[in-house]
Assembly symmetry: C2
DNA sequence: GACTATTTGTTCGTATGTATA
DNA sequence: ATATACATACGAACAAATAGT
């Protein structure tokens, strides 16, 4: 822990992307065994400050900034208002049969086809959230033109106004796939948010599941306002 | 990882509270070095399944169950309605000068005294949340009789109806103190929730900060209803 | 209370495998 | 093809906490 403290203090002398001196060199410099040094670096990895690459070295990660995200408005609007470049990239679009719980929440027949869109939300060039939107395939026309950007804005252009019905917020460590796509260590917690939204008629329309880096993302709710996206 | 899988599979053969065979014995049985065995056990510790005690051994923890908590009503009510014994224990009560951000949120003069109450919320004998309530010391009379149980109910008996103003939800790993009080490993994420509530006149009254085991607690928001505790 | 055996905690030395440049 | 750097494993020793005598 002492060694980890020293190393953590020295991280500021590197630029993000820099590689630390090799384990052998650092171990020699501090007069400890390479194992001992590795265990100290393990702490920094658990904290998400550095990343080890076999055969290459240990590189320094950018210090994350925490962005509070207001639940009352769309992601993009809040964030761009704060002067950050917000971007949403469409990663995948596919059609598949609904899972039992999806069918229940979206009021579909079991196995009825759903349209699944997966987007990656970036903030200041840094991945923040991985969002999976799930709609009944009946609505595929409304989602035809979507190729990234704000999902809510896109639906508004199609004259569909969504209203949040329920939100479930939890935290966990990311799956390996999620960790890779969010460029984060597996040991750093993520906020996992699941929302169900209905259209103007009150019928369930969209089920969204998102995974967000908790070290860069906080969920804010201002009461009195309605929270939508 | 292979060894960890084997060990995890065998955990079912122990009762919670049992101690595993010693590291030397297990290492010998699997034909690996003690280090290797320790690294496998590290995985189970990270998963929160076992706990190591120096000089004593490695004991098996009870498998946690996840209880969804509806944010729209008081903790206690929702949970007791589900048939779980919910309990809130008063850990500490003290008066101290307000921190700058507390003074800001509660609209106090800098350094003005605040009353801090810390409670531990248990569910089925298991610690779930650690809550720090913070009030202006001017309200000490209203909190005189409180010795545990639902804070909201207590204030209602004093004719104080709180209204949630804002909620900020994040996730992180617990501090050592928090991990100890929640009887959880430091590597398992916690939900950290910060709320500001005002009284009927709209003046800020209570600032609460809570830390909850994310493996046993989820935050649910049902729209349309007001979310209060 | 002192002593001893047991068990986990930590560090070192050494060797070998594997990915990368 | 080679050197470098991280990944993994083994063996040994000692420290520190615990439990029992």
């Amino acid at each position: 822990m002492q060694l980890a403290d020293v190393l953590r203090g020295e991280l500021g002398t590197y630029k993000s992307g820099d590689y630390l001196p090799s384990e052998t060199q650092l171990a020699q410099r501090f007069g400890v065994n390479r194992h001992t040094l590795r265990r100290a670096v393990d702490v920094l990895i658990l904290e998400g400050r550095v990343l080890r690459h076999k055969g290459r070295g240990t590189c320094v990660l950018p210090t994350p900034i925490v962005y509070p995200v207001n639940a009352a408005s769309a992601y993009s609007k809040t964030l761009s208002g704060m002067g950050f470049r917000s971007e949403a990239i469409l990663l995948a679009r596919r059609q598949r049969p609904a899972h039992p719980d999806e069918a229940r929440d979206l009021a579909l027949a079991p196995q009825e086809p759903v349209l699944e869109l997966q987007t990656l939300r970036m903030l200041d060039e840094q991945p923040i959230s991985l969002i999976t939107h799930c709609f009944s395939a009946r609505h595929h026309a409304a989602l035809e033109g979507y190729g990234g950007g704000s999902m809510r804005q896109h639906l508004e252009r199609k004259n569909i106004a969504l209203k949040r019905v329920s939100t479930l917020i939890g935290a966990r460590t990311p799956s390996q796939r999620d960790a890779i796509r969010l460029l984060m260590p597996r040991h750093t917690p993520v906020l996992s948010i699941r929302t169900l939204s209905s259209d103007a008629t009150g019928k369930p329309f969209e089920l969204s599941r998102s995974v967000s880096r908790a070290d860069r993302f906080q969920y804010q709710i201002i009461s009195g306002e309605r929270h939508e996206d």
